[in-house]
Amino acid sequence: MIRKIIMVLGAFVIFLLQNCVFTQFNTGGIVPNLILLITGIYGFMHGEKAGLIAGFLLGLGFDIFYGDIIGLHALIFMYIGYINGKFCGIYYPEDIKLPLLLIFLSNISCGVLDYIFGYLIRGRLHFSYYFAHIILPEMLYTMLITIIIYPIIVLIYNAFEKREVRKEA
């Protein structure tokens, strides 16, 4: 129970960080996609359902504040969380390679989907520009943040794991 509360609080803090803090520290106008990062992490750490719910709620929050159509990002993030959750079985906290790979793929697909729904359908065909100037930098920045944030999350996770084991014993 405590872990669930911590997870919700964690997601909430990340959402605020994304909106208020990282937009102030943007590099070259690019902001890392922390919402996607936390969705992915909850997905492969806790399974499909956690990723799915986290993605849906965070995406919904994003849509209410910034989206023109409510539900689009909720849908995209939800599927990303769900697919990340499929890898829960082969995931080990000590190994950072799989999380990095998953975040990398999630970010690329999220960027491409954003481009398709936001730009391509309005006839903006210059995909290479958007890829080089937005999708790629955002992806690299998010990967960098993953390397920093991921060990911290594993640390918190382990601390709670230990506490719960002690309680049960």
Partner: protein
């Protein structure tokens, strides 16, 4: 102990794929509903306003403070050098000032002819602070800390530093979303001040980093519009009040059809370093509806 072990009552779990299906249908339904109507804007915006916005206000201020401090550190050295330069410049400028103050009398008389600045000052304005910026890289909008409680409404114009910033596109009781004119998907009907020709100002993500916006559909048969001309919002715009400064023409080229021209405008507002904005509470009169 009996050989038949009574199975432990299993905890009821809901399979992930059904949850996925339910949420998918839910979000598609939301998309369909919000595409055409604004039915959900009220309850959603109110709920979010009470849950998230108070935190955003605090963090926004903290983040702004931190980013100001970090800028200060890097700036100190540069500022010292600049200070020296500026002192020299002051001497030069005081001389120039004397000449300019003479010209001001002339300007004042011209202004009364123009009537534009008067109109600009007479709008009622409310100050607001930016508490959060758009968290993605695909559009540029931001959240301000005033909403319907302070008398704001959707479609009200937002200015900063004398130039047009954008207009309110979403609102809650204590927050409002402002879509910037530099944002992709944003269109403003503008007018060249010197000639009165109308043009179409359009944000473009590809130009966002260079801090310019593009314009098109300028009809200018006599080549009267030149680089540096002021562009203001036009009288025919449906949302924007007339006569608000958008920016200055930076580049003009002929379109392929040889009838219209297009090019780039440098906005009057520095979108990168905005922290406070003014919301004009007067609305464009839409009596014709």
């Amino acid at each position: 102990m009996s050989p038949v072990v009574k199975p432990k009552k299993e905890k009821f779990t809901f399979p992930g794929k059904y949850l996925l299906l339910i949420f998918s249908i839910l979000s598609i339904a939301l998309m369909v509903v919000t595409y055409g109507t604004t039915a959900f804007d009220g309850p959603f915006n109110t709920a979010v306003g009470y849950v998230v916005v108070p935190f955003e206000k605090g963090i926004g201020r903290l983040g702004e403070w931190l980013s100001n401090r970090s800028e200060e550190f890097t700036d100190v050295k540069r500022l010292l050098a600049e200070n020296e330069e500026l002192k020299n410049e002051i001497n030069k400028l005081t001389e120039e000032n004397a000449i300019l103050s003479q010209e001001r009398y002339e300007l004042n008389s011209l202004r009364t002819l123009f009537e534009l600045s008067n109109e600009y000052d007479s709008y009622n304005k409310v100050g607001a602070r930016i508490i959060a910026k758009d968290s993605g890289n695909w559009f540029s909008s931001f959240i301000i800390d005033k909403g319907t409680n302070d008398g704001l409404q959707v479609d009200m114009n937002v200015i900063s530093g004398g130039g047009l910033v954008g207009c309110i596109t979403g609102i809650g009781p204590n927050w409002a979303r402002v879509k910037a004119i530099v944002s992709d998907k944003n269109f403003v009907s503008g007018q060249v001040l010197s000639t009165g020709e109308t043009l179409f100002v359009e944000g473009d993500l590809e130009l966002l980093n260079s801090n310019i916006i593009s314009f098109s559909m300028l009809e200018d048969e006599n080549d009267a519009v030149v680089v540096g001309d002021k562009v203001v919002t036009s009288k025919i715009s449906d949302k924007y009040l007339p006569g608000i400064l958008i920016g200055f023409i930076q580049y003009i080229e002929n379109d392929n059809n040889n009838l219209t021209k297009s090019g780039y405008i440098t906005p009057a507002v520095d979108f990168e370093h905005m922290s406070e904005v003014l919301v004009i509470t007067d609305m464009k009169n839409n009596d014709y509806e």
